[in-house]
């Protein structure tokens, strides 16, 4: 009886906790999606008539209720520079609000927004901008139907993903950051996998004192805070390795560093160090799970240890290799703190990958989604634009990790089906 009662309680506890987990995930994604995607949706342009007779035309970016009387924050035409034309209007001063159908919202290449009215408002506004910049988007948001709004939404989303940033990374796309993140994670994977697998094989085979030391070291490595890796990367890779390369091969260019500054390669190495423990642990577990009958069967046919390893054991451990990779990618994609010391920048002058030989430029500084989040949320000059941008970048980062993980998980499940019979 008792056991049954406890069993029911346990079931409810587990169900409740699982529900909390699922709920937290849904909440996280829902919040990121709504907060991050909101700026892409064409907001209406409002004409706010004040009691003193003047009219303010712009987008309502915030409304606040303070005490009895509230206030509206309105972004009006940014004629000079971005973030310069926010107006705060008290509710008590407002005579009337309307969304005129002829209102035009124009987005310029440098990120500024201009608002106007009338059929000929566009040219006038462009002239008013008085700068040699192009408009990248001209819409009449109040007159748009749902489909047209969707079209604007997806155009903006595409621009966000596929163009470089503008206005010191405050607006515009995040293509360099996206590419930087992907390149960094791929390079990190290429570095960490061979080292991790080799270490796991060593630990799997050896049981001696040296192996115990290595195992302890690996486990300690897992507990080191990530910022410490940044310092290690800075000292060891950037200044030590990079500086050494500069002194040896690029001495004529000093004191301008070639490899001796932060760069993609050093960041990838730092992250590889950071993720080494998870790869080692999961690969070693995978190797340990392979039944010994497989190894002995191979040895009994005249295979050497290495032949058994390469032809049978490592292939059979591929699901575990992928698990290690998944964990490593998830951990690496989220690490920002160490990167800030070894090569991530707010605005990189060039992409880490391009069409110019050798296509991958490991010594270049690069941009990263994680750092862009930090930058947009905290270091931005225009908080009203910066915070939604941070959410959008966060959503994108989570999406990137999700896609990478799903790919690896699908691949792993296909492999697992093949090796399922081994488990029995």
């Amino acid at each position: 009886m008792n056991a049954r009662r406890y069993g029911a309680a346990g079931t409810w506890l587990v169900a409740g906790l699982s529900g909390v987990c699922v709920g937290a995930i849904v909440l996280l994604f829902g919040f990121l999606a709504s907060a991050g995607l909101a700026p892409f949706w064409p907001a209406p342009v409002e004409a706010v008539q004040l009691r003193d007779g003047s009219t303010v035309l712009g987008e309502i970016v915030a409304s606040e209720a303070t005490g009895l009387s509230g206030a509206l924050a309105i972004r009006t035409s940014e004629l000079e520079r971005m973030g310069s034309a926010y107006q705060r209007v008290r509710s008590s001063d407002i005579a009337a609000r309307s969304q005129p159908a002829d209102a035009v919202a124009i987005t310029l290449v440098d990120g500024r927004r201009l608002y106007g009215r009338g059929s000929d408002g566009e040219e006038a506004l462009l002239a008013a901008a008085a700068a040699p910049v192009q408009a990248i988007e001209i819409v009449r948001p109040n007159a748009l139907g749902v489909l047209a709004r969707c079209s604007v939404f997806f155009h903006r989303l595409a621009r966000f993903l596929a163009t470089p940033p503008a206005a010191s990374n405050l607006v515009g796309g995040v293509l360099p950051a996206l590419l930087g993140t992907l390149t960094l994670v791929l390079l990190m994977s290429l570095i960490v996998m061979p080292f991790g697998i080799a270490t796991a094989i060593y630990l799997h085979r050896r049981r001696g004192f040296a192996a115990r030391c290595v195992r302890i070291a690996i486990n300690q490595l897992a507990g080191v805070p990530s910022i410490v890796y940044g310092v290690i990367g800075l000292g060891l890779f950037v200044h030590g390795l990079g500086g050494g390369i500069d002194r040896l091969f690029y001495a004529d260019r000093l004191p301008v560093p070639t490899f001796g500054g932060g760069g993609l390669l050093w960041a990838a190495l730092t992250l590889a160090l950071l993720t080494l423990p998870v790869v080692v642990v999961s690969v070693e577990e995978g190797l340990a799970r392979i039944p010994s009958s497989l190894r002995e069967g191979s040895l009994a046919l005249g295979a050497t240890h290495d032949e058994a390893l390469w032809t049978l054991l490592l292939p059979a451990a591929r699901p575990a290799l992928l698990t290690g990779l998944i964990l490593a990618v998830a951990r690496a994609a989220g690490a920002v703190a160490p990167l800030m010391l070894v090569g991530v920048v707010k605005l990189a002058p060039a992409l880490p990958v391009d069409g110019v030989f050798p296509y991958l430029h490991p010594s270049r500084e690069f941009m990263h989604l994680g750092f862009t989040i930090y930058d947009a949320a905290l270091a931005s000059a225009d908080a009203i634009r910066g915070v939604p941008r941070a959410y959008a970048c966060a959503g994108l980062l989570v999406g990137v990790v999700l896609v990478l993980n799903l790919t690896a998980i699908l691949l792993r499940n296909r492999l697992r089906d093949r090796y399922r019979a081994l488990e029995t």
């Binding site: 046919l301 005249g302 050497t304 081994l422």
Partner: protein
Amino acid sequence: MLSAVPESESLAAAPGAADVADVAVQTFALSLRYGARQALSGVDLAVPRRRITALIGPSGSGKSSLLRCLNRLNDEIADARVDGRVLVGDTDAYAKDTLLHDLRRRVGMVFQRPNPFPLSIHDNVAYGLRLLGIRRRRELDERIEAALQAAALWDEVAARLDDSAFDLSLGQQQRLVIARAIAVEPEILMLDEPASALDPAATLRFEELLHELAQRYTLLLVTHNMQQAARVSDFTAFLHQGRLVEFGDTDALFTNPRERQTEDFITGRYG
């Protein structure tokens, strides 16, 4: 080399063993310890060529350990210690200059549970051949077919060589690992309770296969099933607590055992 070693008493005295001039594998005072546990002590055994020799004995008597000494698979166990000599053909298995992988190729082994590799049927049989450096497609295919024919599996799998080996039934898997073992032409094939996982019908077919294999190979068969030993083997060795108690012609050993322990065991009074 051989003459320096005293002839195994049991072999010399065993009725019917006198015509065994041809010995495939021979052990001299073979002892094995796993840490503090003595698994084998002073085993002198001569396995006749192209015959089926059965190893019987109660659980823990060292039957499997003996097999694992012959192909030096015990080397893989950290605290295993082997004393004595093992001759495979003319090769001293434990000599310093013996190539381990070559020895293991010559002494094939089939394990208690079928252990097909997670590869296709074709690649399972090709595994040992590829280790030997055989890469040419035609030669591989010919030898794979021959091995599968010899293991009486060819007719069942000829049309689906690229299927996973795990798709086969347990009996087919057992024949597949036999095909895999004989593809590399071993001098002796050791089978460790190979029929323990098979149902009675498959066991019967399997025993027929053993007879066919004995035309070409030396078979050393560990079994806990005395009827099976009596049915299929030409010679039988009885092991008890790591010692070779009796070795001789199967019929003689089962009808007229010389040792009291053997008699107790085969009549079911012990073990």
